[in-house]
Symmetry: C2
Subunit: 402 residues, 2 copies
């Protein structure tokens, strides 16, 4: 049991997820169980809220609200992307001292874990006793040391269903090519998840590209042409961070000799649709589901939400046990049925590290996932309904030839 | 009872909706009840499937499949946007004769009803007895003579939830302005529906623009500035067909004297975000949910799906009663509780007509809906959960001034 009494502060860093508020609910619930925690404050808009001393009293909320907040997207506290300066760290400690803050729970990605580590180091330098625990969060799933990140399962569920439904739309109309841009920054975890709802060989997406496997524009066009020749249509999923073979952002320089002399405009999906129209003469449209990928409340994975909550609870319990400078991790248990516990990893192993999509889960052609990925992701996203199709029983021709 | 025996053909026209397959299920189910209908074929990819004699045997499907198909997005038959030529009409009649087609059910928008009317007229000219009935369909809700269109309720549900969730994301991060582009062509029905999930005065969207009310770029910028001053943020919903005061597409010509000399690039939302950044110096992002607005299966409104199905059934029943040249309509019953039956309207009243959003449901400032619209749309979209928020109980400042 912890003998350190004082205030706890919880803050969010980086972009929200569909379940970051479930982690917040876990923190609120668990803090209420420990008498050592004399007050719980939420920093408004992340670490900026500490620096500006904008703190929300989370002990002063209606009892049922934590559970209700767990169901909401966005960040209930507000978040930020602020780079913290040396002077800021002094200020953070001054605010913590003024409110007798002895516990700091930072829910974010690798940048946030770096900030958390520095806060803890500065507290030690100043002989101010406190415990700092990180709670993982990112739809991109690119944090080191954890099997997966809270937020990823729901974002994977959204994008899998999005490609399933966009695929049905693509099947319906004579615009044969649809290019969909998927979040994920430098990591292919989310774009890989677009494969999850496929049930039939001709289901979308037909091509998936990963930042971890740079491709040439020529290869991209050839891939699309090949699928089009086979199916008469093609749905492509591409990560926003896709690179070309020069290591540049894909589409940065697509000036070609074959009559395609202008720089391509718009977002990546739009550029790729333009490229396909120009090179293959096919009608192509682009889609960018954007913010809905991390906020659409109807696509929350139950497993993801529950794990996010447990990560919040585990952070508080670790601090109560006297632990500091660790991020909570998710640890998948071996065995055929999905089960996942929590563990801890040192901030230094997580801060500023980036876990990319495994190359061994990408096919040789660098345009699809391999089966082991499905086994990894399916329990995180939860069951997804496949759409049935009419049997293609054609009526024999009877009309006179035209 | 009908004494006309023969084959029935059902076809889809225009873009799919989340519930067009529910109307197809209604046609399949009802046709099975009438011995006069000796076979039921589905035209592959709309009227093009008739012209090319690509017909799917819908009597030869598993019994449970119609019900299953009713749950799917896209068009299970395939659709098209083909303009039908004079020669095509001859060919359509030739194919109908060859297969003894006496019933034609065309599920589409106003263009499709025009095509249906011409087919029927040509059949009469050629003394070929047949009955042609239209089934309404459009997410845009712009068909005349019907209280609303199957497809609109689900698309309204999607976009209301999208703005609700994008609004939570906007609330979370310090990028204060988000502009969301909404489908709807020339009609403001869908952009109006973005208001539906608002529960608190500061909920998104804060501004809604309608093609029926052209606005100037200056007015737009002033509106955003006004909301930003009040709330520190602003979420804007704008219809893809928005016009400026010259009657041009909004953003077509935004070259301004105040240092903003280049033409704006990208889609409408992207242009407006650029305009805000340039004129107000505020960070702005753009979102375009796109195809998901008509295909996302998780957002189907139960009322919409059921009504779509009933429209399919009503079309077959009307034909059985000897009726032709009519489109099924939805007729809202008067009274406080929502109830809706079906009616019929002549093709000539629907074909090529367009029902715009009522000006009396738009506020004087031309940037929001008025309450009667909510009463109209709420039962069509179904109940939508609002997101709760933490009480803003701030902790008193205690740290030394910086």
């Amino acid at each position: 049991m912890s003998s350190l009494k004082g205030t706890a502060v919880v803050a969010h860093g980086g972009g929200p997820t569909q379940v970051i508020n479930a982690s917040l609910a876990g923190v609120i619930e668990e803090c209420a169980r420990h008498a050592e925690i004399t007050a719980l404050y939420g920093a408004c808009h992340g670490i900026a809220g500490v620096i500006e001393e904008k703190l929300l009293d989370l002990g002063n909320q209606e009892t049922a609200l934590a559970a209700a907040i767990a169901q909401t997207p966005g960040s209930a506290l507000g978040s930020c992307r602020r780079k913290v300066s040396a002077a800021d760290y002094d200020r953070i400690l001054a605010v913590f001292r003024a409110h007798d803050v002895r516990y700091f729970f930072y829910n974010g990605g690798n940048d946030s874990m770096d900030t958390a580590l520095r806060i803890s180091e500065m507290a030690r330098e100043q002989n101010y006793e406190m415990r700092v625990i990180g709670i993982p969060k990112t739809i991109d799933n690119d944090l080191a040391e954890t099997d997966h990140c809270p937020g990823y399962g729901s974002a994977a569920r959204f994008i899998a269903c999005a490609l399933r439904d966009i695929g049905e739309d693509n099947r319906s109309l004579p615009t044969p090519i649809t290019v969909v841009e998927v979040m994920g920054r430098n990591a292919g975890w989310l774009v890989a998840a677009t494969s999850l709802a496929r049930a039939q060989p001709d289901d979308a997406p037909h091509l998936i590209y990963f930042p971890e496997r740079p491709i040439s524009e020529d290869q991209f066009v050839a891939d699309v042409q090949s699928v089009y020749r086979r199916l008469g249509r093609c749905v492509v999923a591409v990560c926003e961070g896709q690179l070309n073979v020069k290591g540049e952002p894909f589409g940065a320089d697509m000036v070609k000799a074959d009559g395609f002399q202008h720089k391509l405009a718009g977002n990546l999906a739009h550029k790729l649709a333009q490229l396909i129209s120009s090179r293959l003469g096919l009608r192509a449209r682009s889609e960018k589901p954007g913010l809905l990928g991390r906020s659409s409340a109807e696509f929350v994975s139950v497993v993801d939400r529950e794990e996010a909550r447990r990560c919040g609870q585990a952070a508080v319990r670790a601090a109560m046990e006297g632990i500091t400078d660790k991020m909570v991790t998710l640890v998948r248990e071996p065995g055929p049925a999905y089960a996942c516990g929590t563990g801890l990893a040192g901030f230094e192993k997580v801060a500023n590290a980036e876990r990319l999509f495994p190359l061994e889960w990408i096919n040789v052609a660098a345009n699809d996932v391999l089966p082991p990925f499905r086994a990894y992701v399916a329990p995180l996203a939860g069951p997804i309904r496949a759409h049935p199709h009419l049997a293609r029983v054609m009526v024999p021709a009877a009309a006179p030839a035209r």
